[in-house]
C-alpha cells in the first residue's frame, strides 16, 4: 500500500469520525431537492392524467353500425377473479350472432381492475377506460348497468 493510499484512508476515517463532511453533503443534497419537480398536484386545478393502458372503469364497445359488440358468451364473467360481472343473455335479433345480453351489471366496488375481462373477451367488446374519478353517494350507484356501460 502506498503512502498516498494510507493517507487517503486516514483522511476518510477522520471525515467519517468528524461527521461534518457527511452532514454538509447531506445538506447539499436536501437543498438540491428544493428545486426538483414536485410530485404533488394541486388537484382541482391540475388533474392527474393516467398513463396509456391505465386500467380504470369499464365500458362496452359498439361496432361500426352502432350495435353492441357483446355476444353474452360469459367469458368475462368466468374470467373475473372478483366475480363482479353479472350477465343474463337473450336470443339475438340479428342474424350474425346467437345471443345478446339483456342484463350486464358490473359492480365497480367489487372490481379489482385487473383487466382479465378485457383479456378474456373473444370479440373485443369490453374495455377498461382511464376514468377513475367517478363519485357516488350510494353503493347501488356504483353497480353499472348495460346502458351506462354502453354510453361511455
Amino acid at each position: 500500500m502506498t503512502l498516498g493510499m494510507t493517507l487517503k484512508k486516514a483522511w476518510l476515517k477522520l471525515a467519517i469520525k468528524l461527521y461534518i463532511p457527511a452532514a454538509l453533503n447531506g445538506m447539499r443534497y436536501t437543498l438540491g431537492r428544493v428545486f426538483r419537480k414536485k410530485a404533488t398536484l394541486s388537484y382541482p386545478e391540475e388533474v392527474h392524467v393516467p398513463r396509456k393502458g391505465y386500467r380504470g372503469e369499464h365500458r362496452l364497445k359498439k361496432d361500426e353500425v352502432g350495435r353492441m359488440k357483446c355476444v353474452a358468451c360469459l367469458m368475462c364473467q368466468t374470467a373475473c377473479p372478483a366475480e363482479c360481472i353479472q350477465i343474463i343473455g337473450a336470443p339475438s335479433p340479428w342474424p350474425d350472432r346467437e345471443k345478446i345480453p339483456v342484463v350486464f351489471n358490473i359492480d365497480m366496488l367489487k372490481c379489482i381492475y385487473c383487466g382479465m375481462c378485457e383479456e378474456a373477451c373473444p370479440c373485443d367488446a369490453i374495455e377498461l377506460t382511464p376514468t377513475f374519478t367517478k363519485v357516488c353517494t350510494t353503493r347501488e350507484e356504483k353497480i353499472y348497468d348495460i346502458n351506462k356501460l354502453l354510453s361511455r
Binding site: 461534518i20 452532514a23 447531506g26 445538506m27 443534497y29 436536501t30 437543498l31 431537492r33 428544493v34 428545486f35 426538483r36 419537480k37 414536485k38 410530485a39 404533488t40 394541486s42
Partner: protein, 373 residues
C-alpha cells in the same frame, strides 16, 4: 422615545414577524425538499398561513388536564417565550442612526446577561413537563433539562473562546463582554470566525463557530437534537398536554430561541452588522446607513435560520447516549482545548507595545470594560 421605538422594533420584527415568517418558510421548504408543495392556499404563496394558524390556535379549546399543577402549567409557556425575547435586548441589530445606537440596552456585561436569561428557558420546559401530570411529558421535561444543561457548557466555553479572540488582537489590551464593542472590534479588524484579524486564530474561530452552532441546535431542541419533544418516542414531550395558545407560545418560544441564537452567532462570529466591502456605507451616522446596517444584520440572521431549516430536514435524530457522548466527551473537551489554543496564540502574538500598561489605562487584569455609553 427612541428607546420605545427600538423595543417596538425588536418585538415587532424579531418576535412577531420573524417567527411566523420562519414557520411558513420552514413548512414550504420542508415540503419542497420532500417533493411536496406545502401550504400555498392562504394568501399569496401561502404567506398568510401563519396568520390562519394563529387564529386557529386562539379559538381552540384551552385544556388543563386533571391533576396538573395549574400555576406551573400556566407559567411554563411564558417561561419558554420570555427569556429568549429578553436575550434579544442586548444584541446590536444595527450600527446607529444619528447618535442613537441600534441596541435596546447597552450592558457592559451583555454577553453574561444573554447567557443567563437563555439559561432560564430550561425552567419552562422542565415546568411544562412536570406540571402536565403525564409520564411522557415528564420524560420530555427531564430530557430537556439534562440536554440543555449539558450543552450550555459547550456553548459558554465557545463564547469564552470568542471573547478571548476579540481580546487577543495585538492592538487590544482588554477583553470586553459588551456585544457592541465586540461588533465594533470585528468591524475594525475582521470577523471573529476568521480569527478577528489575527490569521493564526483562524482555526480557533472556525472551531468555535462550529461548536457554538452545534450547541445552539441542542439548546433550541432542534433536530438532530430534538429528543425532548421527539414525536416518535414521547408523543410530543413536554408539550404533549398543551393545547390552544399555550402550545403556540411553546412554538413561538422555540422559534424566538432560534432567532436569538442566530443573532448571537451573527454578533459573536459573523461581524454583527458589518460586511467587508460595504463597511464605508455602514459605519457613518446617516439614517440610511443605519437602516442598511440593520438590513445586513437581518440578512445574516435569516441566512443562519435558513441553515437551521436545512439541517432539520437533513439529519436524523441522535440517540440519547450519543447526544450525551457528543456533549460531554467531544464538545466540552474540544471547547476547552479551543480556549487553551486561543490563549496561547493570543499571548504569543500580542505586541509588546500593547502588552505594556499604558498610562491612564486600566490594569489589564480587569477584563470587564466599564459600561460607558
Amino acid at each position: 422615545m427612541a428607546d420605545i421605538l427600538k423595543i417596538a422594533f425588536v418585538i415587532v420584527f424579531f418576535v412577531l414577524t420573524l417567527t411566523p415568517g420562519m414557520v411558513i418558510v420552514e413548512r414550504r421548504l420542508s415540503a419542497w425538499m420532500q417533493g411536496r408543495i406545502g401550504p400555498d392556499r392562504v394568501g399569496p404563496l401561502g404567506l398568510l398561513q401563519p396568520l390562519a394558524d394563529a387564529v386557529k390556535f386562539i379559538f381552540k379549546e384551552d385544556i388543563i388536564p386533571d391533576g396538573a399543577d395549574r400555576l406551573l402549567f400556566v407559567l411554563a409557556p411564558v417561561m419558554v417565550l420570555v427569556p429568549p425575547s429578553l436575550g434579544l435586548i442586548v444584541i446590536p441589530f444595527g450600527n446607529r442612526i444619528g447618535d442613537e445606537y441600534l441596541q435596546v440596552a447597552n450592558l457592559s456585561v451583555g454577553v453574561l446577561f444573554t447567557m443567563s436569561v437563555l439559561g432560564v428557558a430550561v425552567y419552562g420546559l422542565a415546568f411544562g413537563g412536570w406540571a402536565s401530570n403525564n409520564k411522557y411529558s415528564l420524560l420530555g421535561g427531564l430530557r430537556a433539562s439534562a440536554q440543555m444543561v449539558s450543552y450550555e457548557l459547550a456553548l459558554g466555553l465557545s463564547i469564552i473562546a470568542v471573547l478571548m479572540i476579540s481580546a487577543g488582537h495585538p492592538n487590544e489590551t482588554m477583553g470586553t463582554l459588551d456585544p457592541r464593542a465586540i461588533v465594533e472590534r470585528q468591524v475594525k479588524y475582521g470577523w471573529n470566525i476568521f480569527g478577528g484579524g489575527n490569521w493564526l486564530m483562524l482555526p480557533c474561530g472556525l472551531i468555535g463557530f462550529i461548536l457554538f452552532f452545534v450547541s445552539a441546535l441542542a439548546e433550541n431542541n432542534r433536530l438532530p437534537f430534538d429528543l425532548p419533544e421527539c414525536e416518535a418516542e414521547l408523543v410530543g414531550g413536554y408539550h404533549t398536554e398543551y393545547s390552544s395558545m399555550k402550545f403556540a407560545l411553546f412554538m413561538m418560544g422555540e422559534y424566538v430561541g432560534m432567532t436569538v441564537m442566530s443573532a448571537l452567532m451573527t454578533t459573536f462570529f459573523l461581524g454583527g452588522w458589518s460586511m467587508p466591502g460595504l463597511n464605508r456605507f455602514l459605519v457613518g451616522s446617516e439614517w440610511w446607513m443605519g437602516l442598511l446596517s440593520v438590513g445586513v444584520f437581518i440578512t445574516k440572521v435569516v441566512s443562519i435560520l435558513f441553515v437551521y431549516v436545512i439541517i432539520r430536514w437533513t439529519l436524523p435524530r441522535f440517540k440519547y447516549n450519543q447526544l450525551m457522548n457528543l456533549g460531554w466527551k467531544r464538545l466540552v473537551p474540544l471547547a476547552l482545548a479551543n480556549v487553551m489554543l486561543v490563549a496561547v496564540i493570543g499571548v504569543l502574538t500580542q505586541s509588546p507595545a500593547a502588552a505594556a500598561p499604558k498610562p491612564g489605562a486600566r490594569a489589564p487584569i480587569e477584563v470587564v470594560q466599564g459600561g460607558v455609553k
